[in-house]
C-alpha cells in the first residue's frame, strides 16, 4: 500500500493524464460530477456522491458505432474505430465500482457487447472508500461495505484527512502504480492502524443510517406473486414517468438504437433509454406496458427480481442517487419496504 498527500494530488493527476484521460469528481457550478481532469480543475472528493454515476465511461449516454452512406442502391457501413486514449476513473465509490460488475454481467455475457467491452478494457478503475456515508446511502443492504474493494477495481484508495492511501489491486493497477511510484510514499504501521480504525468506524456508521434496515432478501421472490401484487398500483401513483432515476442510476442499462440522417452520410448511435418512458415499449400495434404502473413495476421488478433471477445479484447498489433526485421522492427504498424488504 502506498500513500500520497492531498497537496501532491495535482501532480499525480497531471502524471496520470500524460497517457490517460483522467476522470475525477469535479465541482462545477455547485454540483460534483465526474469529468475530464484539466489543469486547475476543482477536484472534490469530499462530496460522497457525484451527481450522476461514472457508468457513463463504460456505457456512455450516447455513442455512435457506425457511419453509413447510401447512394442509389448501394449501402456502405463504416464501423467507427475507437481512437481514444486509455482512461482512468479516479474516485469510484465501492457502490459504483460494484455497479460496473453488474453491468459486466449484462454486456459481457454472450453475445458480447463489443462497444462496451472495448471501453471496459481501456479503463483503469481507481476506487475510493467512503468515510462519511450519507443519510441516503444503503449500500449495506446489498452487502457492499463502504470501504470494500470491489471485484474489478484496479486500485483502491482511501482518503483520510489529507492523506490518500493507494493500494494496487489488479495487474493494471500495479502497472499504473509503478508509473506513479515517484509520487507515492510507503505507508507506515500507524497509517495501517488508522485505516483499520477508519474502516471499522464507517462500518458502524453504516449500521446507524436511516435505511440500514432495508433488506431486499426479505422480499418474497415469487415472480408472479410479486408481479401481480396490488402494491404496484399504490406506489406507482406518484411516479411522473421521468427518467431521472434511470439516468442517475449506476446499474440501469436500457438503451435505444437510432439512426441519424446527416445529409451526406448518417450514423447509427445507441443512447440511454428508460423503461420509465411511455414509448419505451411502444410498437406500431400497441404497448404491453400502457400505464406508468407497468413501467414502474418493470424497473423495480428488474432490479429486485428479474436481474437476480438471471445473475444471482440485485441490480441495485444502494448508492441512493435516485433517493435524492426523484422529483416526487419515490424511490427503490420505499419500493423494497413496501414489498416487505425490511429487517424488523
Amino acid at each position: 500500500m502506498k500513500k500520497i498527500t492531498e497537496e501532491k494530488l495535482p501532480e499525480l493527476y497531471s502524471h496520470i493524464s500524460q497517457n490517460h484521460d483522467l476522470f475525477v469528481p469535479i465541482d462545477q457550478d455547485d454540483s460534483v460530477n465526474f469529468s475530464l481532469w484539466k489543469d486547475g480543475a476543482n477536484v472534490n472528493f469530499d462530496v460522497l456522491k457525484t451527481n450522476t454515476s461514472p457508468k457513463k465511461y463504460i456505457f456512455p449516454q450516447c455513442e455512435t458505432f457506425f457511419n453509413f452512406k447510401s447512394e442509389g442502391k448501394k449501402l456502405t457501413i463504416e464501423r467507427i474505430k475507437s481512437e481514444e486514449k486509455p482512461y482512468v476513473v479516479f474516485g469510484v465509490r465501492p457502490c459504483d465500482a460494484k455497479s460496473f460488475r453488474l453491468l459486466d454481467n449484462v454486456f459481457l455475457s454472450e453475445p458480447m457487447d463489443r462497444l462496451y467491452e472495448e471501453k471496459r478494457n481501456r479503463g483503469i478503475i481507481v476506487s475510493m472508500g467512503c468515510n462519511e456515508p450519507e443519510d441516503t446511502c444503503f449500500c449495506n443492504s446489498f452487502s457492499i461495505l463502504p470501504n470494500s474493494i470491489q471485484e474489478g477495481v484496479d486500485v483502491f484508495t482511501l482518503k483520510l484527512g489529507n492523506k490518500i492511501f493507494w493500494e494496487a489491486i489488479s495487474e493494471n493497477g500495479v502497472e499504473l502504480t509503478n508509473k506513479l511510484s515517484d509520487l507515492l510514499d510507503d505507508v507506515t504501521e500507524g497509517d495501517l492502524k488508522e485505516i483499520e480504525i477508519a474502516k471499522s468506524q464507517v462500518n458502524e456508521k453504516v449500521k446507524e443510517l436511516p435505511f440500514s434496515n432495508i433488506d431486499p432478501n426479505e422480499i418474497n421472490r415469487d415472480l408472479n406473486e410479486l408481479f401481480q401484487s396490488k402494491i404496484w398500483d399504490e406506489i406507482s401513483k406518484s411516479c411522473i414517468g421521468c427518467g431521472s432515476c434511470t439516468f442517475v442510476c449506476p446499474t440501469c442499462h436500457c438503451y435505444d438504437i437510432q439512426d441519424y440522417d446527416g445529409n451526406k452520410s448518417g450514423e447509427r448511435y445507441r443512447c440511454w433509454d428508460s423503461c420509465m418512458y411511455s414509448e419505451f415499449t411502444l410498437m406500431a400495434h400497441g404497448n404491453p406496458r400502457t400505464t406508468q404502473k407497468e413501467r414502474f413495476r418493470q424497473r423495480f421488478m428488474h432490479k429486485l427480481v428479474y436481474y437476480p433471477n438471471n445473475f444471482d445479484e440485485y441490480a441495485c447498489v444502494g448508492c441512493g442517487r435516485c433517493v435524492g433526485k426523484c422529483p416526487v421522492n419515490m424511490n427503490i427504498t420505499k419500493v423494497i419496504r413496501k414489498l416487505g424488504g425490511e429487517n424488523q
Binding site: 458505432f65 457501413i77 463489443r114 462497444l115 439512426d259 407497468e294
Partner: protein
C-alpha cells in the same frame, strides 16, 4: 444457441445484404429474398429464428426468417407494411442493399422434441412467416417427422400469403394436409369459412401430436384455448411471442417478459413456459 458466425464481430453491426427479389403476397405483405452482395446466404440459422433488418437512415426492425434453413443461397422475410421500416422496405427497388444482422433468438426444436412426431401447424395471417420456415424444413426432411397438418387462415382469401405453397406444394407433400379458412364468406372461396380457433376445434385433431401456433395475439389466445379443449397439454404446444426489440441480443431491456428476453430466450416458447411468465405481452 450459437451459430458461431458472430463471435468476433460486433453483434450490433449489420452486414450488407442485397434484396434480390420482392414478391408481393397480398396488399400489405411482401416477401423479400436477401443474399450477400457476392451471392449466398448471409448466415446460417434455425427455423423460428429472427434477424434484424436494417435500412439506414430509417432504422431497424426484427423479422422472423421465413425461408427454410435448408435453402442454401438466400434468406426470405415476409413483411407486413405497418411502420416506418416496413414502409420503406415495401417501397424498395430490387437490388438495393440493406443491412441484416442475426440470427437472433431460439428456434422450434426441429431436431429435438419434434423429431418423429406428428405436427400440427396453426397460423393466421402473416403468422405463417415463422412457421413456413419450419414447414419447409420439415418438408425437406420429411422422413424425420410424422403426419403434418397445416391450418391456415386469414381475413380474406386475398390475405393468405405464400399461395404457391399453401395451395400447391404443401398439399402435394407426403402425408400432409392443408386446411385453409377465411373469416368471412366470399365469392369464389370454396374452403372453410370461420375463424382459425373455431376451425381448429372443428377439425378435431387427435392429441398425439405437437402443435406450433403463430398469428395475431388474439388468435393465439383462442387457439391455445381450443387446443386445450381438444385435450392438448401445454407442453405439446409451441408458439412465438413478439415485443418491441432493439438490440436483438437481450441487453437493451425492452423485450423482456419477466426475466425472459423475447429476443434472446424467445421468440419460441412452449406454452407451459409461457404460463410461468407474468402477463405482460
Amino acid at each position: 444457441m450459437s451459430c458461431g458466425c458472430n463471435d468476433h464481430i460486433d453483434p450490433l453491426i449489420p452486414q450488407i445484404a442485397v434484396v434480390k427479389s420482392i414478391r408481393s403476397d397480398t396488399n400489405d405483405v411482401s416477401t423479400f429474398r436477401v443474399e450477400k452482395p457476392e451471392g449466398g446466404k448471409c448466415f446460417d440459422f434455425k427455423p423460428g429464428q429472427c434477424a434484424m433488418v436494417s435500412v439506414p437512415p430509417i432504422g431497424e426492425a426484427i423479422f422472423s426468417i421465413t425461408s427454410s434453413p435448408t435453402e442454401t443461397e438466400f434468406m426470405e422475410f415476409s413483411i407486413k407494411r405497418c411502420g416506418k421500416v416496413t414502409e420503406f422496405l415495401h417501397n424498395l427497388e430490387v437490388d438495393t442493399e440493406i443491412g441484416v444482422r442475426g440470427p437472433y433468438g431460439n428456434n422450434f426444436p426441429v431436431n429435438e422434441e419434434l423429431i418423429g412426431k406428428d405436427l400440427l401447424f396453426i397460423a393466421g395471417g402473416i403468422g405463417l412467416a415463422p412457421l413456413r420456415s419450419v414447414i419447409n424444413y420439415v418438408m425437406d426432411n420429411r422422413k424425420d417427422y410424422g403426419k403434418v397438418d397445416i391450418v391456415y387462415g386469414a381475413r380474406t382469401s386475398g390475405d393468405l400469403v405464400h399461395r404457391n405453397e399453401i395451395f400447391a406444394n404443401w398439399p402435394a407433400g407426403m402425408n400432409t394436409n392443408v386446411h385453409l379458412t377465411v373469416d368471412r364468406e366470399e365469392e369464389g372461396w370454396e374452403g372453410n369459412v370461420g375463424f382459425v380457433p373455431n376451425y381448429v376445434k372443428d377439425l378435431k385433431f387427435d392429441t398425439n401430436k405437437v402443435a406450433l401456433v403463430c398469428g395475431p395475439p388474439i388468435m393465439i389466445k383462442y387457439v391455445l384455448l381450443g387446443l386445450e379443449e381438444l385435450g392438448f397439454k401445454k407442453d405439446q404446444v409451441y408458439t412465438t411471442l413478439e415485443l418491441k426489440m432493439k438490440c436483438g441480443i437481450g441487453k437493451c431491456g425492452r423485450c423482456n417478459i419477466g426475466d425472459k428476453y423475447v429476443c434472446k430466450d424467445g421468440p419460441v416458447f412452449r406454452c407451459d413456459e409461457i404460463q410461468q411468465l407474468p402477463d405482460e405481452y
